[in-house]
């Protein structure tokens, strides 16, 4: 086994890290609230190939796998980048897989990132997919509808309701232009695969988020004094940080392994994706909660940056729904389905 990130992947991540250092400070993240979308930053990421790398524009060059997208999601998550990286990547992967059903104009749009193509997590009911990621800013979506898995324009985008994660989630109505990518069983399978990819990328972003929160907390306990000493000298603070450090290592490896398992078509890819999603969600919430707590009362105020991590740690995975249903799904994959009622 080899956990090392390749030099070319490190280089890829460094490029985004440099971009975010300059253009995605926590101040900028605040400025993008409450919508939670920084169009300028997203444009820069598109120019760098954040989405197009999934379907390589260069003939003969290998497309980026989920590992590459997951590593970029870690970097983006760490600074809470207000961009639709996860959903746009998932949508692009679906389109790539169903390329033969996609009209060239849609393909060109996808490569250019305009209109913004998102991925609807929930099936379309009465022409609407409820609370789709980036639904408030998307011009098109991949969604599971009655006729199958469709690529469609979004009809009159709805504004996003104020929400915990200050994310542009919104109901998405199926627009006039619709292309059926897959129908019947193959539509269901393709949608399930897309959800699987979404889980791994969201988990990777959550690992990044947790790393960001952890670093802020660690820096804070090294300068904040109480009772005449640094609060970072208290054993209860140290031990919780130590536990979180180890859990974060584990979550990082698990997310990368899940992405690798998908790229290499491993049998247990689905299981690993669910594990990564559940574990990263759990760790991110715990790390963000304690990181806020170590700040004391000031951590609870909107002035303090840590609240931005705390809200998103809970909000990002919940866009999919109650995590317990993922646990149930995982148990089904691990232990086979429940016996029929006797």
């Amino acid at each position: 086994m080899d956990y090392t990130v390749s030099d070319s992947d490190l280089e890829l991540c460094d490029g985004y890290r440099r971009l975010f250092e300059k253009n995605c400070t926590l101040e900028k993240v605040r400025e993008a609230e409450p919508l939670g979308f920084d169009e300028g930053l997203w444009r820069r990421m598109l120019e760098m190939g954040a989405v197009s790398m999934v379907v390589s524009p260069i003939e003969g060059e290998a497309d980026a796998g989920l590992v590459q997208s997951a590593l970029v999601a870690e970097v983006a998550g760490r600074c809470l980048a207000p961009v639709p990286l996860v959903e746009a990547t998932v949508a692009a992967r679906v389109v790539k897989d169903q390329a033969s059903s996609v009209p060239p104009v849609w393909m060109d749009n996808l490569m250019a990132g305009s209109p913004l193509l998102t991925f609807a997590l929930r099936p379309v009911v009465d022409d609407v997919s409820r609370l789709a990621p980036s639904g408030a800013v998307a011009g098109a979506m991949v969604a599971l509808a009655t006729e199958g898995l469709v690529l469609c324009s979004v009809d009159a985008p709805q504004p996003s309701p104020h929400n915990l994660g200050t994310a542009p989630i919104a109901d998405c109505r199926v627009g006039a232009t619709t292309v059926v990518l897959a129908a019947g069983e193959s539509a269901r399978i393709a949608h399930a695969r897309a959800i699987r990819d979404w889980k791994v990328l969201t988990a990777s972003a959550l690992v990044g988020l947790a790393e960001g929160a952890f670093q802020i907390a660690l820096d804070y306990v090294k300068i904040r004094k109480a009772f005449g000493v640094l609060i970072g000298s208290f054993q209860t603070v140290q031990h919780r940080l130590a536990d979180h450090r180890v859990a974060l290592d584990g979550a990082t490896f698990l997310c990368r392994k899940a992405a690798w398992a998908i790229d290499t078509d491993r049998e247990d890819a689905q299981i690993l994706a669910n594990m990564a999603f559940l574990y990263a969600s759990e760790v991110a919430e715990q790390v963000a909660t304690d990181s806020l707590h170590f700040h004391g009362g000031i951590g609870y105020t909107m002035e303090c940056d840590i609240q931005m991590f705390f809200r998103r740690a809970k909000a990002w995975p919940l866009v999919l729904g109650d995590p317990q249903s993922v646990m149930t799904e995982l148990a089904g994959q691990l232990y086979r389905p429940v016996e029929a009622a006797r």
Binding site: L218, L241, D243, D249, F253, W260, L272, Q324, Y335
Partner: protein, 387 residues
Amino acid sequence: MNFDSTDKERIREEVRTFLQANADDELLGRRFTWPVDGTFYRAYCRWRGDNFDGEDVGILRTVAEEMDLAGIELTPFSQTILVGATLSVVGSDYQKETILPQVLNGEILCALGYTEPDSGSDVAAATTGAQRDGDEWVINGQKIFTSQAEVATHIFLLTRTNPDVPKHKGLTLFLVPVDTPGVEVRELYTLAPHPTCVTFYTDVRVSDEMRVGAIDEGWPTMRVALEFEHYGTGKTTVPVPPMAPSATLINNVHDNAVEWARQTRRLDGTRVMDDPSVRSRLARIAIDHEVTRLLDYRNDPALAEPGTGNGTKLFGTEAYVRATSALMDIAGAEGLIAQSEPTTVARGWIDYAFRDAPVRTIGGGSSEIMRDAIAERRLGLPRNRGK
């Protein structure tokens, strides 16, 4: 990046073949006791030496994992290897040339004589004294948790050679043959089927050849040994297998519990396995197992920062405790039946593991010591306790 572990399949196959030839049913059947058996281990060492020239830690871990799965826990042997690894770093020429080969071929089996009744985690507060007398040293004192001393040939003993300097400065280590006059070994029974030992030292005379490391330099020597013990990837030609194979322990108890839950019906006729709450709790254990295994197998040199080994030990043992508690709950009243009873559930694994788990977060450095080490060495936080 490659998380494939099937390259270890060949090794697994070889381990299975070796076990078939060398481990009789009695040994394999003694699942819930420490299977310390000199004959078996010597055979194991010969086989290891013959088959795995230039082996790496990953291979050794796979070997240990496969043995654990067969019910033969290598912990007692691992502590011998860690003494060997320590000798390979700090040993004298004589020790490297004469003792180390005996450690590697299984003639020497070691127990660790660190802890004393009055100083648990504060290892450096040891008071067992060693006084020089010509070419010999005379040792007097007592150690506790000298596990496997009842079968060991040698004890890797931490002594105080200078009581007049700060505690970390006056320590010296020895490799003491257990059959030396004045060494007394007493078994101490534990919650689990495996005992530990108390060892007493009365005017024990040891040759200076058996001193490991310089006089009064015992603490730096201990640091080398502890680094190995805490899954460290210290610089040595002797790869050290994991001391606390938490991933396999979790795996064994989980798999046996799953098998039991599938085969068992409750009074209302429903299968235990079909209870959604049971399934969720089992799946949660499976996640902890996967994470433990990933931490255990990490090999990225960039991640081998100080304190990462402590993290692996901390996480795995704590996860094992969580898992065994949850599985006891799932088994309910049936889970109370001891593994020695024919009616025990999950082939005795749940009862065994629940009793076994608490010591794993204590032995080999308690979880608190692991957390302190991570906080201080990896996170750069100020030391929270006295020297």
